[in-house]
C-alpha cells in the first residue's frame, strides 16, 4: 500500500468515525474524483474502516434509547429487545447530562464520561452488561472476573455465570461497573489485568480487547491497576482530564468528579500521564514511587515522590495512618463514605501521633468510633454531618 492510499485510508476512517474535519472530507472528494478506481476503492475502504469505537456507538444508542425508548418498539411482541431491558435501570445514566461533544470531537469518550459523571451512585454495586442486562451485587467487596475469551463474566466466586459478547467479533461489548460509597470491588479483565475500584467509582470496560490497537478502559473515581504486560497492545486508562498509558505495571489513579484532585501514583513499572485537551498537551512519565498531580490553577502537572502505601492501602480494605496526616485521613474517609466530616481547625492542626491501620468497615460509624478511640475525640451526627469534638 503506498503512502497516498494509507493517507486516504486514515481520512476515510475518520469520516466513518465522524471525526473528519471539513478540510479532510474535501480531500476525500478530490481523491474520489480522480478516477473510477478510487470510487471502487472507497467502498472497500469503508468496509475495512468500519467504526472502531464500539463503546462510543453503544453510548450513542443508549442515549437514543433513553430519549425515544418508549416510542421505539419492534413490530412483533415477545421478540427480545436488545438493550431495552435495562431501560429503567440505566435511566439514571443520562439524566441531566449536557455534553459538549463537538467541542472536542476527537475525544471519543467524552460521552461516556459525561454521562457517567452526571449519574447517581447506586446503593449496591451494579454491573451494566453490554447486552443491556443489569446485575446488582450484595457484597461490600465484590469480585468480578471476565474470562480469557471475553465470553463470560464470573461474579462472586463463580456463583453466577453470565454469557456476554462474541469474542470473535472485533467489536467488543461494553460493560460498566458502579461501586457505591462505602464499598469496593475487584475486577479481573480479559487480558489478566486486575483492577481494584474504590468507593463511589465507575469503570467502563470491554468484554475483550481482541483486534483493538489499545486496551482502553474508562474510569471515573479511584482505582488501583495491576496491568498484565503486553507490549503490542498498550493499556490506556481514560479519565475526564487525563489519559494514562501504561508502559509498565501497577499504579493508583484518582480522578474524582467535581474535585480538584486528579492524581496518579505509580507503584512499579512506568506510567505516562497525558493531559487530554488539544491545546494543552502536557505529558510526564512517572517512575515508581512518584505521584503526578494536575494543578488546575497553575495549569501544570506536578510530580512528587511519595510513600505509595498511603495511596493504595484502601484496596486492601484499610487506610494507613501516619503522624500529622489527620486532615488527609479525614478527606479519604469523606470520599469513601461520601459523608461530610466536621473537625475544628485546632484539632486538625494539633500534631497527632496516629499510626497504624484504620479498617474500612461497610458501616461508617464503626470507622468514626475507631477514629475517636485513636484520637480521643467524640463524634455525633448533626444534620447529615459528622461532627468530631474534643472529649
Amino acid at each position: 500500500m503506498n503512502n497516498n492510499l494509507l493517507h486516504i485510508k486514515t481520512l476515510v476512517g475518520k469520516y466513518i468515525d465522524g471525526t473528519a474535519s471539513i478540510e479532510e472530507i474535501a480531500a476525500i472528494h478530490v481523491w474520489l474524483n480522480e478516477s473510477e478506481t478510487n470510487k471502487v476503492a472507497f467502498t472497500k475502504l469503508k468496509q475495512e474502516c468500519k467504526q472502531k469505537q464500539q463503546s462510543l456507538a453503544n453510548a450513542d444508542w443508549l442515549k437514543f434509547e433513553q430519549k425515544y425508548g418508549n416510542a421505539v418498539k419492534p413490530n412483533k411482541k415477545g421478540k427480545r429487545l436488545l438493550g431495552f431491558i435495562s431501560i429503567a435501570a440505566s435511566i439514571s445514566l443520562v439524566v441531566g447530562v449536557s455534553i459538549h461533544l463537538m467541542s472536542n470531537i476527537q475525544d471519543n469518550y467524552s460521552t461516556i464520561l459525561a454521562e457517567a459523571s452526571a449519574a447517581e451512585v447506586p446503593e449496591k454495586t451494579t454491573i451494566n452488561l453490554s447486552d443491556g442486562e443489569q446485575i446488582t451485587l450484595e457484597t461490600s467487596h465484590s469480585v468480578v472476573e471476565v474470562d480469557e475469551q471475553g465470553k463470560q463474566i464470573l461474579l462472586e466466586d463463580k456463583q453466577v455465570v453470565e454469557e456476554i459478547g462474541d469474542a470473535e467479533s472485533s467489536k467488543p461489548g461494553i460493560n460498566q461497573i458502579i461501586v457505591p460509597y462505602g464499598k469496593t470491588a475487584e475486577l479481573l479483565l480479559a487480558d489478566g489485568t486486575k483492577v481494584w475500584l474504590n468507593a463511589g467509582s465507575r469503570f467502563v470496560f470491554p468484554d475483550h480487547f481482541n483486534k483493538q490497537p489499545n486496551r482502553e478502559v474508562v474510569l471515573i473515581g479511584e482505582a488501583f491497576f495491576d496491568v498484565s504486560h503486553n507490549a503490542d497492545q498498550p493499556f490506556k486508562v481514560i479519565t475526564d482530564e487525563m489519559v494514562y498509558t501504561v508502559l509498565g505495571t501497577s499504579f493508583n489513579i484518582q480522578s474524582l468528579p467535581n474535585s480538584t484532585s486528579v492524581s496518579a501514583v505509580l507503584v512499579e513499572g512506568s506510567l505516562q500521564v497525558e493531559k487530554k485537551t488539544l491545546l494543552n498537551k502536557q505529558k510526564v512519565i512517572l517512575k515508581p514511587g512518584q505521584k503526578s498531580q494536575f494543578l488546575a490553577k497553575q495549569d501544570r502537572m506536578h510530580v512528587t515522590n511519595v510513600n505509595t502505601a498511603f495511596y493504595t492501602s484502601w484496596k486492601d480494605g484499610y487506610l494507613m495512618l501516619d503522624k500529622n496526616r489527620l486532615g488527609k485521613l479525614i478527606e479519604q474517609i469523606e470520599q469513601f463514605y461520601h459523608s461530610e466530616l466536621v473537625i475544628s481547625h485546632e484539632l486538625i492542626n494539633v500534631p497527632t501521633q496516629l499510626s497504624g491501620k484504620l479498617l474500612l468497615d461497610e458501616d461508617p460509624e464503626q470507622v468514626y468510633s475507631a477514629l475517636c478511640d485513636l484520637t480521643g475525640m467524640t463524634y455525633r451526627i448533626v444534620a447529615d454531618k459528622v461532627v468530631f469534638e474534643k472529649q
Partner: protein, 195 residues
Amino acid sequence: MIQEKKIAQQIREGNLEAFQEFYKSYFRRLLNYAAMFINQSDVAEDIVQEAFFKLWNNREAINEEQTLVGWLYRAIRNQCINQLKQQKVHEKFIEFASNYEAIDKVYKHDFELPLNDADDFYVWAEIKRAIESLPEKRREVYQLSKIEGHSHNEIAKELAITTKGVERHITLANRALRSKLKHLKTAIFVLALLP
C-alpha cells in the same frame, strides 16, 4: 452492499436489533455532518436523533429504491437548513459553505444518492462565489480572519500590513458580501454571519 440491503429489509419489517446496528454504524457520520451546519452540539445531536426516530416511525413508507441512510441524510440536511434560518450562524459556517459541494458529494457517494440531487441548497455556491469575487488581498484577509480564525494582529504580521489595514479590509469585505448576497431568500441568516 448485500448486507446493507438485508439490514434495510429487516428494519422495514420492524426488527429493532437491525435498527440498532444501523443506528450505531451511521450515527457518528451523520452527527459530524449536522455539526458542520450547526455549531451547537446538542442541537445537532437532537436533529440527528430525531431523524433516526422519524425513519423508524416511517420505515414501512420509505421508498425501497432509496437507501435508508440516503433518506436520513436528506432529512437531516433539510432540518439543518431550517434550523439555520432561525439562528445566528457560526464562524466555521463559511468554511463549510465554501466546501459544501465537495462534502455533499462525498456523503452522497457514500449513501448512494444521485449526485445531481435537485434539492441542492444553492446558497453555498453563492457565498463561495461572493467571497471569490473579492479583490485578492481583501479575500485573503477575510479568509484568514473568518475562515481560519486568526486574530487581526496575526493577520497583520503575516501579511505585513497594519492592524488598521486588516480591520479596513474586513469592513469592506463585509460590506461587499452583504450587497452581493442580499438577493438571497435565505439572506436573513447569511447576513447574520456578516457582523
